[in-house]
């Protein structure tokens, strides 16, 4: 029988601040963490806001921050918190640990500095540009820090990266390939040029991110990292570690269709596969943390896919998007939102979808509008859907105290 997989540590850095608890508090209380973009750095920006991290990362990390792009710094910080919580440092070294960290654009800040310097005709550019930019730099930094010699790699599947990294880590533990895995995602791509790339896709809201609301008009970018430590039940038990929650299901399915326009059928397939992987019935799920970007197309497709997956059970099922609080953190989204989902499960409290004004008949469900509430449940789902048609769902279950 495949090993049961425990989450034994969680770490996050986001616009809500440094730490998984800061993230959870903001999500639970529906406190948006939005910053105005600096006019000096973003003079031509049409979109004026994002969910930016305000902490000084290099100060938080100290010497470990050198030689790393911002996205890898964030991942290392989140890993540090997760490993501390799991009290796992002493058992990470060696071949039986994996590090799998999702990244969408890799070292966007470093690329931005390189192209600025190059365009200005400067000879002197950062000599570490290439190793800072590579999308696997975050995974390598974590492996180096903890002496991990097992499978170390990056998953890059846009907004599904973090979720897929968690799912693959779980599968590797189940298969016996490794005993534990440090998994998650990281993204820091809000640079002037990259922001322009997002602007021309017309998917960013110029005012307020309001998923599933009738008048929604786009998503809000964020930055951050979410990292969790996964361990086989036997290894966690041997260390006397009680699971924070069980990671029990992972499903992924690709639209294999339009690059940008989501297809509800395959989002539903990912959810159904996660359920079947966890041997759960739709009625067993008591909360869904939605991908819920707040774009017209995502929310309609996701609501249809939820209807397909959960049927009548959707009527009483709370489904919320916490993205208006912490922004869409792209490759980190799956991990950051998994951490919120686990906290929701542990505290038996469903976080709200804030900024919601009116029902869209195409997204008719309990979106936990504007105010979170206590709710009894024992299993929860977290969804991530990406450009390129890549859909993923993760399922977590309550671990007995």
């Amino acid at each position: 029988m495949a090993a049961r997989v425990a989450i034994t540590g969680m770490g996050a850095i986001s616009a809500a601040g440094n730490g998984a608890q800061a993230l959870w508090r903001a999500a639970r209380d529906g406190s948006p963490c939005i910053s105005q973009l600096d006019e000096t750095r973003f003079p031509r920006a049409r979109i004026k806001h994002a969910a930016l991290i305000r902490e000084d990362i290099t100060q938080l990390l100290g010497d470990a921050a050198t030689k790393l792009d911002r996205f890898a710094q964030l991942a290392l910080l989140a890993a540090r918190e997760a490993v501390e919580q799991a009290d796992a440092e002493a058992r990470l070294a060696g071949m039986k640990t994996a590090v799998i960290v999702g990244s969408g654009l890799g070292g966007a800040e470093t690329i931005n500095r390189l192209t600025d310097a190059h365009s200005a005709g400067e000879v002197r550019v950062d000599p570490l540009t290439v190793p800072k930019v590579m999308a696997s730099a975050a995974a390598s930094a974590i492996a180096t820090r903890y002496g991990v010699h097992g499978p170390v790699f990056c998953i890059s599947s846009a907004c599904a990266s973090g979720s897929q990294a968690v799912g693959i880590g779980m599968q590797m533990i189940r298969s016996g390939a490794v005993d534990r895995a440090i998994v998650g995602g990281s993204e820091a791509l809000i640079t002037p040029a990259v922001l322009r790339g997002w602007e021309v896709m017309r998917v960013l809201t110029p005012d307020r991110n309001r998923p599933f609301s009738a008048d929604r008009n786009g998503m809000m970018l964020g930055e951050g990292a979410g990292i969790v430590v996964l361990e086989s039940a036997a290894h966690a038990e041997a260390q006397g570690k009680r699971p924070i929650a069980w990671l029990s299901g992972y499903g992924t399915a690709c639209d294999a269709g339009d690059l940008l326009k989501p297809d509800a059928q395959w989002a539903a397939e990912a959810m159904k596969r996660a359920l079947s992987d966890a041997a759960l019935k739709p009625a067993d799920v008591g909360y869904v943390n939605a991908h819920g970007t707040g774009t017209v197309l995502n929310d309609v497709a996701e609501a249809a896919a939820l209807g397909d997956t959960f049927g009548d059970h959707l009527d009483g099922l709370p489904v919320s998007s916490t993205k208006p609080v912490h922004g869409h953190t792209i490759a980190a989204a799956g991990a950051i939102e998994l951490i919120i989902t686990v906290n929701a499960l542990r505290e038996q409290f469903v976080p709200p979808t804030i900024n919601w004004t009116a029902e869209d008949p195409r997204c008719r469900m309990d979106v936990v509008a504007n105010t979170g509430r206590p709710h009894g449940f024992s299993a929860a789902m977290s969804n991530s859907f990406a450009f390129g048609g890549i859909n993923t769902s993760l399922l977590v279950e309550m671990a007995a105290e």
Binding site: R46, V200, R202, V203, L204, L260, L297, D360
Partner: protein, 91 residues
């Protein structure tokens, strides 16, 4: 006011032809965007051209999502552009 909008309408029409490579003779009011092969990428190009021409940023919204015909598209863009011009701060 009406004349001003006629100018915007003509500009929008020309801009749609240029950005989405459609045959101008097929641009009748009730032609569907699908029949004209105007897809999401063409729409992005059209909105980028509007930004260049009028200095107005349009995001996706539910109104644009519901557009079916060329006539509806021009009418909506005309409304957005004329609103945008009216709301622009004096330079």
């Amino acid at each position: 006011m009406a004349d001003e909008n006629a100018g915007i309408r003509e500009t929008l029409r020309a801009l749609i032809v240029k950005e989405s490579f459609v045959d101008e003779s097929k641009l009748v009011e009730d032609a569907t965007l699908e029949s004209l092969s105007i897809d999401s990428l063409d729409m992005s190009m059209i909105m980028m051209a509007i930004e260049e021409k009028f200095d107005i940023y349009l995001s996706v919204d539910t109104e644009l999502d519901g557009i079916v015909t060329f006539g509806e598209l021009v009418a909506l863009l005309e409304k957005k552009v004329s609103q945008g011009i009216a709301e622009q701060p004096a330079k």
